[in-house]
Structures are given as structure tokens and as C-alpha cells.
């Protein structure tokens, strides 16, 4: 046996959330109605963090809308906020951006990836054609048009780096050294993680290192700086291979956030109180959801080996 000992990075939700400070740039993983690190999101709101620059996933869901509605966000880097058929456009996203209280760094899915890749690769910018001929460069002066320098004449966009202080990513499982494995689709999570200075994994389970070594091909994010165990941590959204989204819960969110947009802040405040502020921690939150409801969301594991 070696005399040296590896550093373990497991922390509680509270310890991890205390690292997210007002004014930081924070990326939130997941995609659409899936794999968002909601236990962390709720704790960040409870801490009263403000003025965040949020980097949403390419198709961000209402986890971003919740943070906006809770007053945490100053600027948003994101190409979509909504929940498709449940909610085509996030209501708080609309409310705050239409009122001029939310700065939106207009981008598309791949211009977002271009910025993340520029950050991950230490480049000054990453070049991409998508966005040429659209209103994106007018709305977002950080993107600069240039002409193909290799003898061409086509217009290209230079997208500057997007560098989150932290990327918070939900995985199926991780070991105590920060090696996380997605058990379903990973969407844009690897790119958010690679672009960030530090990585926080929210995991359904902390598993022994041997489980990770059994199939290192499945490791999507290695050596995260912090690992937080939060079973059902994506609720009300799905976690691939674990549980599906809680449709009624999402519909209730949509109704309450719609009320907020239309000026009924009472309904919205009551929502935040009930689902975010009153439960003292993640377990207390799950208790308010109820065991029967949570078990009803169970899905058969999709990926096994």
C-alpha cells in the first residue's frame, strides 16, 4: 500500500452551495426537462445569492427560469429558456428580460458551444458560421464578424470564450474523487464542464471507485472539484436512467411563474416559499414531494453493463 492518500471531494449540498457567491459566473447542466442539478439550484436560492451570470445549457429548462424568478440572476448566457410543450417560453425569463432587468447574451446552441470551446482550449475565440445572416451579432456585440482569412470571402463569427467560475452538473453516479458517469444522454454537460474553472457534480449516488474503473469509457466528467450526493436531485426534472420528469409539478411551476409574469407576485412568492425556502434541506424538500410521488417517477435503467 502506498503511504500517500488521494484527496476526497465529497461535500454536503450546503457546503458545496456556500462556494457559489454573488456575482460569479455559473454554468448549470442538464438539457430540456432532464438532468438539472436542482438540489444545488434550490440551495443557491436559499442562500440569497444575487447578480449571477448564468450559463445555461443549449436548451435550458425552467431551472434557469426559477433562478431568474428568485432574483439571483443579472446576466444570462443561453440559447433557449423554456420547457417545450409544457412552457414554450419561460415566464420569468420573459418578465425580467422584457422589463430590462435581465441582460441576455444572445446566442445559439453552437455559438454557445463555440464560446465554451474557446474557453476550454484557451483560445481567444472560436470561429463558427452559424449566426451569420441572423440578428444574433447585432444583439450580441461580443461576437465579431470577420472574413475567412484563408483566401475566402465568406463571413464568419468570432465567438469569445465563455468561462464559468463553476459548472454544476448532475450525473447518475460519481466516486469520491470526482469521477462522474452519466447513465443516459450527456447533452452539453462535458462542454460546460471543460469550459469552467471548477466543476461541481451533483450525483444520484456516490459509488466506490471500482465501479468507475469497471468502465472508464463511461466517465464523462473526471476529477471534479466537488461531489454532492443528492438522490432525486433533479426533481421535478428527469434524471436519465433513474426517473422521469414530474409533469404535474412542472405544470404547477408553469402556472405560478405565469402568474408572476402577469403581476401576481403573491402566487409566485408562495411557490418559492413552499418549494424552496421552507424545506430546510434537500431531504426536507423530498419529504414535501412525498415518497409515493417520487416512486411513481421511477424508470427502468436504460444503460447497464
Amino acid at each position: 500500500m502506498s503511504k500517500s492518500k488521494r484527496r476526497e471531494v465529497v461535500a454536503s449540498v450546503e457546503e458545496a452551495a456556500s462556494k457559489i457567491e454573488s456575482g460569479m459566473t455559473v454554468a448549470i447542466g442538464g438539457f430540456g426537462a432532464d438532468n438539472h442539478p436542482m438540489a444545488m439550484v434550490r440551495e443557491i436560492i436559499r442562500n440569497g445569492v444575487t447578480d449571477l451570470t448564468l450559463v445555461g445549457s443549449a436548451t435550458a429548462g425552467l431551472e434557469i427560469d426559477l433562478l431568474i424568478g428568485a432574483g439571483c440572476v443579472k446576466k444570462l448566457i443561453c440559447s433557449y429558456v423554456g420547457q417545450e410543450l409544457y412552457c414554450p417560453i419561460g415566464h420569468n425569463f420573459r418578465k425580467y428580460s422584457e422589463a430590462g432587468e435581465l441582460e441576455v447574451w444572445e446566442c445559439s446552441e453552437y455559438t454557445l458551444y463555440a464560446g465554451l470551446f474557446a474557453s476550454a482550449s484557451g483560445s481567444e475565440f472560436f470561429a463558427w458560421r452559424g449566426g451569420v445572416g441572423t440578428s444574433i451579432p447585432e444583439l450580441n456585440p461580443d461576437m465579431v464578424k470577420f472574413i475567412d482569412p484563408i483566401g475566402g470571402e465568406k463571413e464568419i463569427l468570432a465567438v469569445p470564450p465563455i468561462r464559468p467560475d463553476w459548472a454544476i452538473i448532475h450525473v447518475g453516479w460519481s466516486d469520491c474523487y470526482g469521477n462522474g458517469q452519466h447513465l443516459g444522454a450527456r447533452y452539453g454537460d462535458r462542454w460546460l464542464a471543460r469550459a469552467a474553472t471548477r466543476i461541481m457534480l451533483q450525483t444520484e449516488r456516490v459509488v466506490p471507485n471500482e465501479v468507475i474503473r469497471k468502465n472508464p469509457l463511461m466517465t464523462t466528467i473526471a476529477y471534479a472539484d466537488c461531489v454532492v450526493e443528492a438522490p432525486y436531485g433533479s426533481h421535478p426534472y428527469a434524471a436519465h436512467a433513474m426517473y422521469k420528469e414530474d409533469v404535474e409539478f412542472i405544470q404547477d411551476y408553469v402556472a405560478c411563474s405565469a402568474a408572476n409574469r402577469k403581476g401576481d407576485s403573491k402566487t409566485w412568492d408562495a411557490y418559492l416559499k413552499k418549494h424552496v425556502h421552507d424545506p430546510k434541506d434537500h431531504v426536507a424538500y423530498l419529504e414535501t414531494v412525498g415518497i409515493e410521488r417520487l416512486l411513481g417517477l421511477y424508470t427502468h435503467p436504460t444503460i447497464t453493463w
Binding site: A58, I89, R129, Y187, G188, A238
Partner: protein
């Protein structure tokens, strides 16, 4: 005439556009495109290379049972139909030759088709579409500032540069949505696609609940090309915010036939998501 819903008709209309050698990316939203692409694989395009599920899954359902159409683009159900799941950024990259049985038998026939662009067809939504086929997901403006915040462009402009044909899809036909010029452009139509030298052609059709517009090859402006059964030219003119030019080849869309409806209802949309 068969008894069918508008959504079923749309699914069939799009399925007919799909050929066996195509590559398709169907991004977010709407069960109609899930149904159209799955219907095509189960009828005439079993080799269709199909990206679904937030476009991170390559799916083939030719020999698979579909208990229920997926409700969201990221639903875990889609993983069941997947043969590959990749990083979302890979969605926008080339994923192989045209494929399709005939491509390998008669390669000469496919010399000029899409070898290197990432998809042949893509369906884009919009809160507005204009006579140039530009679509807008960004928002509405009073000329000075954004008065209505739209959902965001998602990846439609990223697809626009490399997809051969994009189909703009507007869910209600009125003067607010079909306009002279969109307030913001999120996916360009044919004119801009040509000016900016995109690999793709830009918008091929604008599809609404009333009709299909295609584009005049000379002016690159929209023209009324096909009407849904029961809709009149006047009806379209009255509800469109730009001057409606009518194609010389104007036709009425053939409603779904018995065979198409049978596969759609019995194998693709068993629970009748599209029927209402």
C-alpha cells in the same frame, strides 16, 4: 375524404418529403415531427439517418414498437429508439454519407446530393415568418427595444448554414405571424442563404395550418403553392401580412390516404397524440 386531424395531415405531409437516403435532424418541440420521421422509417425510408432527442440520439424505429410518441425532445423514451447517443455539440457535425439502399446500388444518381452537409432536412418553428422565409424565435420589437421576449434561437441558425432544406412551421396562420419582414432573424431564408453563401438552400417551405408557401426561384419571395383541403386563396390572402403571390402550379394537398393513416395510428401514434 378520410377523417383525420390537422396534426395527422402535417405528419403525413412531412413524411412524404422524406426519402430513404436522407439525413434529418429534428430538434426540439412538437410531436408532429417525431411522428413524420418515424412514419417515414416505418413506410418508405427505413435507412433514414435520424437525429432525435435534443438531436443527441441517432434513432431507427423501423423494427421497433412505439408505445407512445415522446412528449419532450429529451424524454428518456427516446433512448429506447437510439443506436447512438452523442454529445450535443456533435449534433451540428457531419454524420456520414447519404446512406439509403439505393445510394449504394446507384451511386451515380447521388453525385450531387448532400455528401458533406450535416442534414438534408430540418424543421424550424417561429413566432414570425416573413415573405423571404426568414423566421424569428428571438422576440418582437417596437423598433427601439424588445417588447416580447421569444424563446431564443436554439440551434436553428446553426443548422441553417448546413442543412439542405429547412421547413418553417407556423402553428397559427394570421397577420401577426406571417409578416413582410420579421423583427429579428433567427434562421435565414433563401435570399440571405444565397447572399451569405450557405451550403444549404435556406427555407424551402413555410407551412401553416392553411397552406404551404414555396419560393419563387427568381425573386426568392414566398408564393402560395399548396392549399390544405377546404381552404381558399382569399382565406390565405386575408390572413397573411404580406402580399400573397400565387404559384402557377397551385394545388391542393392530397389528404392522408388509408395506408398512411393506418401506419400512423397503429404503429407510430398509438395513443392518439396527434388526433386532437
Amino acid at each position: 375524404m378520410t377523417d383525420h386531424s390537422w396534426k395527422e395531415m402535417m405528419a403525413v405531409v412531412f413524411a412524404r418529403e422524406i426519402e430513404d437516403h436522407h439525413k434529418i435532424t429534428s430538434g426540439a418541440h412538437t410531436e408532429i415531427f417525431f411522428a413524420a420521421t418515424m412514419l417515414a422509417q416505418k413506410t418508405h425510408a427505413p435507412n433514414l439517418k435520424l437525429q432525435l432527442g435534443g438531436s443527441v440520439a441517432l434513432c431507427n424505429v423501423t423494427d421497433m414498437e412505439i408505445p407512445e410518441l415522446p412528449k419532450t425532445s429529451t424524454g428518456y423514451e427516446i433512448l429506447r429508439y437510439a443506436e447512438s447517443i452523442h454529445d450535443h455539440a456533435d449534433t451540428f457535425l457531419f454524420y456520414g454519407a447519404p446512406g439509403g439502399a439505393d445510394y449504394y446500388k446507384n451511386p451515380d444518381k447521388y453525385k450531387d446530393v448532400n455528401h458533406f452537409w450535416f442534414a438534408d432536412k430540418f424543421f424550424v418553428g417561429g413566432i414570425q415568418a416573413d415573405k423571404w422565409g426568414n423566421t424569428n424565435m428571438i422576440g418582437l420589437s417596437d423598433g427601439k427595444k424588445m417588447t416580447f421576449r421569444g424563446p431564443g434561437t436554439i440551434g436553428i441558425n446553426d443548422t441553417a448554414i448546413g442543412v439542405v432544406d429547412q421547413y418553417a412551421f407556423i402553428t397559427a396562420h394570421d397577420k401577426r405571424r406571417l409578416v413582410e419582414n420579421v423583427d429579428y432573424i433567427s434562421a435565414p431564408g433563401q435570399k440571405i442563404a444565397r447572399e451569405k453563401q450557405f451550403n444549404g438552400n435556406g427555407t424551402k417551405w413555410i407551412v401553416t395550418p392553411k397552406c404551404i408557401f414555396d419560393f419563387d426561384p427568381d425573386t426568392l419571395e414566398a408564393r402560395l403553392a399548396q392549399l390544405f383541403p377546404g381552404v381558399t386563396i382569399e382565406d390565405v390572402k386575408e390572413n397573411t401580412g404580406f402580399e400573397v403571390n400565387v404559384s402557377d402550379a397551385l394545388s391542393t394537398i392530397e389528404p392522408p390516404n388509408k395506408d398512411e393513416l393506418e401506419v400512423l395510428r397503429n404503429e407510430v401514434d398509438k395513443t392518439g397524440v396527434l388526433r386532437h
